[in-house]
């Protein structure tokens, strides 16, 4: 279909001042790694961006030792007020370099610049600003008298919101008085390394934050390191399980933010215009690479046809392409591996009898792309209704009564998020009470805020990030004594 034509409006990469290769950020300096370096590429072009050091066990040891030293000698001796001031500095530096960070993020991750510029990076700054203020107010957090830091925190983060996940992890850890060794995802290390430069500008004491790059084995070595007191992981449920096993009995405090298969429930009394936008935002935001994505649309049967037709119309107007173009709605899939998984599960969905519809759009020649796709008449037992696709693929199921909607929504081992669309407040609150999910959005979706706790029920993990609750993950409270 023809819609408005736009001239290309690419954000310039001239704002970037990238190095050709990056070392590991240990004890305040970039140092070479002892593993085999790897390249990070732009998923939109498959072109190399930079060469990245690979941390082996020896490097992990060095990073944990630096964090331990910084904890003992510097960070634990600093007042809460001073810890807070460093975090405020970091928040300001992120704001100052926001555009540069947004461009780097879109380049390395493939997400549209309008998202990295307007969502990811502003939230990064907000996260540091929010937790900065907690650093000297921990006694007021309702987590017991004089709560204490845990020590060294090992943090492993995913590739879908690289810098935002870094902020979710580092800001509360430092506010609570811990030091950090963080490993960004293998495919998206760039913004974390620029963040390391920001830490240098902030003159954060050496070793308080160490950033080591590498693949799964680096992360494994980090979370299993005996001198780590806290492990925080965001990523797949299978890796989360493995971490829960490997840390069992170690005394390490563990928080896990894992997968999801959120239901987005649309009642027939919903504000339909907003609901259509909310459904689109729920699953096509960030190419669907969102653990809390509204990947299961549960629509009341009597409005099913109208909603699906309008969704198809709306999706036909989305623009897929260059992540750095300001008009792009759908960017690149983060990696070939992820693209293969999305394709595989989509093919299975079709084979299992769901009706597949894909928005018509030109797919660029290079890079990894997947056009927005809807599966209609999906059965509850279908794999695309049960497994996390982590891509721009929406499964549509229908229901007749609120009780049926609740039963279907809860029919999953996950429990991260859910959406409810209705103009009837009392219905929303009653349904929200019954949903087994850690975050519920009513007449909105995919909203994030540093003041708002985030995290799941059941196999979506445990612990909360954000808000007052997010501090508990990094403090020794009564139950850990």
């Amino acid at each position: 279909m023809s819609f408005l034509e736009y001239a290309p409006a690419p954000e310039s990469t001239a704002i970037l001042n990238l190095k050709d290769s990056y070392g590991l950020f240990i004890n305040g300096d970039f140092v070479p790694g002892h593993g085999t370096p790897f390249e990070t590429i732009s998923p939109a072009t498959e072109k190399r961006i930079a060469t990245i050091a690979n941390a082996n066990e020896k490097d992990v040891d060095a990073a944990v030792a630096a964090a331990r030293r910084a904890y003992e000698k510097t960070w634990s001796k600093l007042s809460g007020a001073d810890r807070g001031k460093y975090l405020f500095r970091i928040a300001r530096l992120v704001q100052e370099r926001a555009r540069e960070l947004a461009v780097a993020e879109s380049l390395d991750n493939g997400k549209p610049i309008k998202e990295s510029r307007d969502v990811d990076i502003p939230l990064v700054a907000a996260w540091f600003f929010y937790y900065a203020g907690w650093a000297d107010k921990l006694d007021y957090a309702g987590l017991g008298a004089a709560p204490r830091a845990l020590g060294v925190a090992a943090q492993v983060i995913p590739w879908n919101f690289p810098l935002l996940m870094l902020a979710w992890k580092i800001a509360p850890a430092l506010a609570a008085g811990n030091t950090v060794v963080l490993k960004p995802a293998e495919t998206t290390p760039l913004s974390a390394l620029l963040f390391a430069e920001i830490l240098q500008q902030a003159e954060l004491p050496a070793g308080v934050v160490n950033i080591i790059t590498g693949a799964g084995d680096t992360g494994q070595a980090l979370v299993q390191h005996p001198d780590v007191n806290k492990v925080a992981f965001t990523g797949s449920t299978s890796v989360g399980r493995a971490i829960a096993k490997s840390t069992a009995g170690s005394g390490k405090k563990l928080t896990l933010e894992l997968g999801g298969k959120a239901a987005n429930i649309v009642f027939d009394d919903a504000p339909i215009d907003q609901a259509i936008e909310g459904i689109v935002n729920g699953i096509f935001f960030n190419q669907g690479h969102v653990c809390c994505a509204g990947s299961r649309l549960l629509v009341q049967e009597n409005i099913h046809d109208e909603v699906v037709d309008r969704l198809k119309q709306r999706l036909s107007t989305l623009r897929l392409g260059d992540p750095l173009d300001k008009n792009t709605d759908i960017g690149a899939i983060n990696s070939r591996e992820q693209l293969d998984r999305i394709r595989e599960l989509s093919d299975i969905g079709e084979a299992e009898g769901a009706e597949r519809w894909t928005a018509e759009c030109a797919i660029p020649e290079n890079g990894f792309w997947f056009a927005p796709t809807i599966f209609d008449n999906v059965s509850t037992s279908s794999r695309i209704a049960r497994e996390e696709v982590f891509g721009p693929v929406l499964s549509v199921l229908s229901f007749r009564t609120p009780a049926e909607a609740i039963a279907k929504a809860n029919n999953t081992p996950y429990g991260l998020s859910a959406g409810i669309w209705s103009d009837k407040g009392s219905k929303i609150l009653a349904v929200a009470d019954q949903l087994k999910a850690g975050v519920i959005w009513a007449n909105t979706f995919n909203r994030f805020d540093p003041a708002s706790p985030f995290g799941g029920y059941k196999e979506s993990g445990y612990g909360r990030e954000g808000g007052r609750h997010g501090l508990a993950a990094y403090l020794k409270t009564g139950i850990d004594a």
């Binding site: 399980r241 850690g438 519920i440 959005w441």
Partner: protein, 284 residues
């Protein structure tokens, strides 16, 4: 002529009923001096599974009761315990080999634990939850909710106080529990079940198994319909293996403690999930 006493048969407590172990097994419970006290039921894997089914069936109803209601139900347990203290004094003194005064102090403490937690039922949400000042036109509220079905290993060295100290914080928020009682001191646990059965606690909310924790716990740790594993009394077991097993279904796990755990708000919150609800505010 002295009257011949009528001894009690001690059975399991599952779904509000008192079944024998389906396995037909019992084990001999002896006093601190080695004298025979009773044959307690030795619960099996299937008994544990039956208990989980009962706990799951009771969970929705119990968690939808108001906090005020649950608080009164817990308080009523304290009232009934008070009335049957003589029986517990005798049982605890015989089993643990302590004086009547020490046994009495344990009952006092157990009653007070019920009362303390009863008062939390309509308050813990206020203290552990909060409104969140998000940057946008949204009403945003975080509230703790019960995590679901909790499997628990009671402290092994205490007849009554240890058991009560693990049950009360779990159920007050709306969880249901399958608890493995102290293996050497199971009789007070079953006597407590009789109190529970005649109190207002709905059947299935509290399920008590007697027998070998080492034998039963692995089945509960790996059970896919159990949401959390409370290892409080598992210090002497291979508890790390239990924790590893629980990781397969990502259960919340509380590590063992020595002795009887203190009554704390943390213990309540450990078995809750924080749910955050965002609601749009319209433009006016």
């Amino acid at each position: 002529m002295t009257r011949l006493a009528v001894p009690k048969t001690y059975k399991l407590y599952i779904g509000g009923k008192f079944p024998r172990s389906e396995s037909g097994r019992t084990y001999e419970v002896v006093s601190s001096k080695g004298a025979f006290l009773a044959n307690a039921a030795k619960a099996s894997r299937k008994d544990a599974r039956d208990a989980v089914v009962a706990a799951r069936a009771a969970q929705a109803g119990w968690s939808s009761a108001t906090g005020y209601n649950r608080g009164q139900v817990l308080y009523r347990i304290a009232e009934l315990l008070e009335g049957r203290r003589a029986q517990f004094v005798e049982e605890i003194a015989a089993a643990e080999g302590v004086s009547a005064a020490a046994a009495s102090r344990q009952i006092d403490a157990a009653i007070d634990v019920w009362v303390w937690y009863a008062g939390w039922a309509d308050k813990y949400v206020q203290v552990a939850g909060n409104g969140n000042p998000v940057s946008g036109p949204y009403f945003n509220l975080s509230t703790p909710e019960p995590t679901g079905v909790v499997a628990s290993i009671a402290p092994q060295g205490s007849s009554l106080l240890g058991l009560v100290s693990v049950i009360a914080p779990v159920i007050l928020s709306g969880n249901t529990i399958v608890v493995i009682a102290s293996e050497p001191y199971p009789l007070s646990a079953i006597s407590l079940s009789e109190v529970l059965a005649t109190s207002d606690v709905p059947g299935g909310v509290i399920n008590i198994l007697t027998g070998s924790a080492a034998e039963i716990a692995p089945w509960l740790a790996s059970h896919a319909d159990v949401n959390a594993l409370d290892l409080t009394g598992a210090e002497a077991l291979e508890w790390i293996d239990l924790q590893i097993s629980a990781a397969d279904t990502l259960k919340r796990v509380l590590a063992p403690v020595s002795g009887v755990p203190a009554a704390t708000l943390d213990r309540i919150v450990a078995f809750t999930e924080t749910k955050t609800v965002w609601h749009t505010k319209s433009l006016i």
